[in-house]
């Protein structure tokens, strides 16, 4: 089954995925429409700043078993049958934050949502864009990511490709014609690091 795969080394921190995610979870499904909606839809993916201010796209890993599901008091968090997706039933959710206390990645937020009962704050998290997938589309965050930090593919394929990249990077003749896996990120973060170091001199 295809899944969203995160390549943080490629993230440039543009946060377009957050905008696309919120739009995909709006009623109108358009950016302008989403901005005018009440409640305004919340993003399920979160680009945080790493230690060198590099982008870090953080989304639900849909763990199995999922700590949030085990910690959920009213039993609102469940795994959708056949899709490996951890979902929240907004009718059952009581906004107690037990899931946020359990989540090792900090990807759960609390907000009103167009799909939740009006006025009710609920736990919102990545749903793998089940709605879009049912229409044959890829998840919104992937569609919008121009940096290639988010891809939608078979995990086995991605693993294979990555294994090859790793092998190539450490092979004997790698030193002769090495291309870093993520030239842009490496360069940018090195420049940031040096700038910080020079500033502090």
């Amino acid at each position: 089954m295809k899944q969203v795969i995160v390549h943080p080394e490629r993230c440039v921190g543009c946060m377009q995925c957050m905008t696309a995610c919120a739009t995909a979870h709006s009623t109108s499904k358009t950016l302008i429409g989403a901005l005018l909606e009440e409640p305004r839809p919340a993003p399920r993916i979160h680009v945080g700043a790493g230690l060198e201010d590099e982008g870090f796209p953080n989304r639900c890993r849909h763990c199995d078993p999922a700590p949030c599901q085990l910690g959920c008091l009213p039993g609102a968090i469940y795994r959708a049958k056949g899709s490996n997706t951890v979902m929240v039933d907004y009718d059952l959710c009581i906004n107690c934050a037990s899931c946020a206390m359990a989540c090792p990645y900090g990807v759960i937020r609390f907000a009103e949502d167009p799909k939740a009962p009006p006025g009710k704050t609920v736990a919102v998290k990545c749903d793998n864009c089940v709605e879009r997938q049912a229409q044959g589309k890829v998840p919104a965050c992937v569609e919008t990511c121009f940096a290639g930090a988010l891809t939608f593919e078979e995990p086995s394929e991605a693993m294979k490709r990555r294994t090859g990249e790793v092998a190539a990077s450490i092979s004997l003749d790698a030193a002769a014609h090495r291309v870093p896996l993520s030239a842009s990120w490496d360069l940018q973060s090195e420049m940031k690091r040096r700038q910080k170091a020079l500033d502090q001199r």
Partner: protein, 449 residues
Amino acid sequence: MRYVIIGNGVAGITAADTIRRIDPEGHIVFVAREAFPPYCRPMISNILAGSAELDELPIRPDDYYRSLGATAYLGVEATGLDLESREVSISAGANLAFDRLLIASGADPHRIEAENLDLENIFFMRTVKDVLGMVEALPKVKHALVLGGGLVGFKAAYGFLSRGIRVTMLIRSGFPLSMQIDQTAGEMIQAELERHGLEVRTGIEATGFEAGEDGAVRAARLSDGTSLECDAVVVGKGVFPARGYVPSAIETDAGILVDDSMQTNVAGVYAAGDVAQHVDVARRRPWVNAIWPVAVEMGRVAGHNMAGYPMRYPGSLSRNVIRIFDLDVMTAGMVSPRESEGLETAEGYDRRRHTYRKLLFREGVLVGFVLVNQIEQGGVLMNLVHQGASLNGLTAEALGPRFNVGQVMGRGRQAGTGYPAPAVGAPSTRHTANAAAAGSSAAVTTATE
């Protein structure tokens, strides 16, 4: 295999579910005092507050016992335990033979030394029945008295206040929630509740109660000799493990002592949930953590071992999250003033964001934290405490508003505790960093790790 499970709380039913997955044939028997279908105990305060309906409480379907192929003695107490004949005697008059026994009878509220404690409208808040009694009494309640400044006391106070009822809370110790949180957070919570009409009095206790003409409580006599009019009382003085029927041959401390498999000192007899005492990973000593997520964990581990699929429990961690009006508070580990003495601490108060954070370390290892507001990243910290991990010098970041798991992983790389820092000219190591981001050995973020 005959399994007897005493208690239908979340520890008991989680164990039963686990057993059934491993052993489709075994005979599972429940003995439970509460006849209400398995429900979410922490949510009973939502019933009092009017933010949840009774039908939202059950956490298993109506036909749970039948679909599990289990026999259930409900509204029935375990009265004795014969370890020779390996039988549980129950108040319904039968003896239930077992091969594997799970003691998951939970905890009972502490009673207090006070006259006329049995008057009408004096409540303990432990079961759905307790709360239904409170809801029934609500129309006549003008002024509620809450005894105890623990979590139950606060949830009771919050519930009454949400219903527009005046509440006075009596706390023996200096500040609210002194077992769960530090003074700063305790005072923030108190201020928030006071803003909504709560009156808090510290260093004072109730010594007795007086009845009105209808037989219900009318006033409380206080330790300073005064009396206080009230028409409902909630006693929230903590809980203690419900193990009165357990013979002395089973080793106990505060709770029933269990090993890493949740087994007591008697082979085949297990304990889980609020009644069980394992080890607290932050405190590094035997400890009863009578909280929901720990009961779930223990129930799972016990179920595995009872059904013959060995599994170890690494230890529990105390933790809690409460939302009180506009205040969110999350805590874990060693945060109470008594326990945090001698620990290194770091704290930060952000006036503009109205947030407060405190981190507690023992020899550089995170052993506790308090978060007031902006609690979304609490799970990251909770898991670091649970792992006994160092924050790797990320204290300032963790106290700040932009803290995220990417920083934890990044510092792990920089510190060489797993992943070296990336550098131009060297083979990129970000692919391994990526594996860290995925939280598994796979170099991808999959949906199934």
